[in-house]
């Protein structure tokens, strides 16, 4: 009987790992010794970093979505079903319709902004972390006539640099529209500087100071009063806004919370090097679904997939699993609508932003289309 490798989740992590496995294990799959199946609750695949460009009306949302089946190699099976529980004991996924047994499970169920995490927030906030949120914010900005835009955030959230990027891009967007003098941009952050990673904070602060972007630190949201349009912070402060853009704390997927296999937020305890779920030899976790203290970002999933696939191939072929993930992450940092920086870091090396340039922005623009090759496991 074939070894059943089931990948739960059809986002960046799940799709990349399934395609890379199918390429590496082609002989085994073709002779029926291995099956690779993606189980996902949606048939479309979104490139989430694209939302930032939707907000500023640089690209339409349709550029950043593909049918999941079209991205998966023909050797990868695909099932669209909403799994409600992972049964580690019986080694199966359970949906209201049927059970899916596995021999090896890869959990790639992602993370999701929880707009209910702060009272009053959902009623009034705009966001750029969902496809509909990006379009709604774009439409609001196109008719904006001036006032105070406030950016608020909580942890954990995916793409830790995106709030800085949206702030810098807002500044450039309104300058290009000759409206900047009518817009006050207020960036906020929970700790004593504008970003947790000091090199990124230093880089961003310099930009904020030079471009007249206000920032408030030690800003910890407690509630939002939608009627008065005020954010209430833990220190008793009240902060009025005309337009609120929030990046709330994220949660793991409902299936993780429902299965009781994650922490209180639904993130799964994972070995930082082998990417195995703690205490489980047949379950691997990658991408945003882990509880690892590193960036929840597509590049994290991509580098993890490279390591995981090597180990899974060795496992199938009866070899020891010797490849270890070193914590590598890489991110572009958009500085405006026309230039960008870039960082890369791992468990041992902190990030150091590259000098901003048009070239890096162009590369980011190209990657927005090259991404589909990453998902196909080609790059």
């Amino acid at each position: 009987m074939a070894m059943r490798i089931v990948v739960l989740g059809g986002g960046t992590a799940g799709t990349t790992v399934a395609n890379r496995l199918a390429r590496a294990l082609r002989p085994e799959i073709r002779r029926g010794a291995v099956e690779v199946t993606v189980v996902t609750d949606r048939d479309r695949h979104w490139y989430q970093p694209g939302y930032l460009f939707v907000v500023f009306n640089e690209r339409p949302l349709e550029d950043f979505v593909r049918p999941e089946r079209a991205l998966l190699l023909p050797d990868v099976g695909m099932v669209v079903d909403a799994i409600t529980r992972i049964d580690l004991e019986r080694k199966q996924l359970i949906s209201p319709h049927r059970h899916y047994p596995y021999d090896v499970l890869v959990i790639a169920t992602g993370s999701y902004p929880d707009f209910q995490s702060v009272p009053g927030l959902a009623e009034v906030t705009y966001n750029f972390y969902t496809p509909e949120g990006a379009e709604r914010l774009r439409d609001r900005l196109t008719t904006w006539t001036g006032g105070r835009i406030m950016i608020v955030q909580d942890v954990p959230h995916k793409c830790p640099a995106a709030p800085v990027e949206v702030t810098l891009m807002l500044d450039d967007y309104f300058r290009r529209r000759r409206l900047r003098d009518r817009v006050e941009i207020v960036y906020t952050y929970p700790i004593g500087r504008v970003h947790a990673a000091e090199p990124i904070a230093d880089w961003a602060k310099q930009q904020f100071d030079a471009r007249g972007i206000r920032y408030e630190t030690f800003f910890n949201m407690e509630a939002v009063d939608p009627k008065r349009q005020v954010v209430l912070t833990m220190d008793g402060g009240e902060h009025p806004f005309d337009l609120l853009i929030s990046i709330p704390a994220h949660k793991g997927a409902g299936v993780i919370l429902n299965s009781g296999i994650g922490d209180e937020s639904g993130f799964i305890p994972t070995d930082r090097h082998t990417l195995k779920m703690i205490g489980q030899d047949d379950v691997y976790v990658l991408g945003d679904a882990t509880n690892l203290p590193i960036s929840k970002a597509g590049s994290t999933a991509h580098y993890q997939a490279e390591v995981l696939v090597k180990n899974l191939v060795d496992r199938v072929r009866g070899l020891p699993e010797t490849h270890l993930y070193n914590g590598k992450v890489a991110c572009f940092l958009e500085n405006s609508l026309g230039d960008a920086s870039f960082i890369t870091f791992d468990y041992d090396r902190p990030p150091k932003p590259a000098a901003t340039s048009e070239l890096l922005h162009w590369f980011k623009g190209m990657y927005n289309d090259l991404y589909w090759l990453t998902a196909r496991g080609l790059m």
Partner: protein, 77 residues
């Protein structure tokens, strides 16, 4: 030394960083819980006490171990 209710191993975390891991854990903790963070980022020894004081939590210890720091706070509110 106070017994930690929860230890957060944030070694190797540069972005978003150990303090952000602590903030996340503090939200989920009960008042009175002791949260210990392990960090290999030297900045944590300064950042975490600064944040804790500002938010009204008690800093219990900041210790240097072999190549990393152990910092504990007690959630007060």
């Amino acid at each position: 030394m106070a017994q930690a209710t929860k230890t957060i191993d944030a070694r190797g975390s540069f972005c978003p960083g150990p303090l952000m891991e602590l903030i996340k854990a503090t939200r989920a903790a009960e008042v009175g819980d002791v949260l210990e963070v392990l960090s290999n980022d030297a900045g944590s020894a300064k950042d975490i006490p600064e944040w804790a004081k500002k938010m009204g939590h008690t800093v219990l210890y900041v210790e240097e171990a072999e190549g990393y720091w152990k910092i504990a706070i007690k959630k007060e509110r």
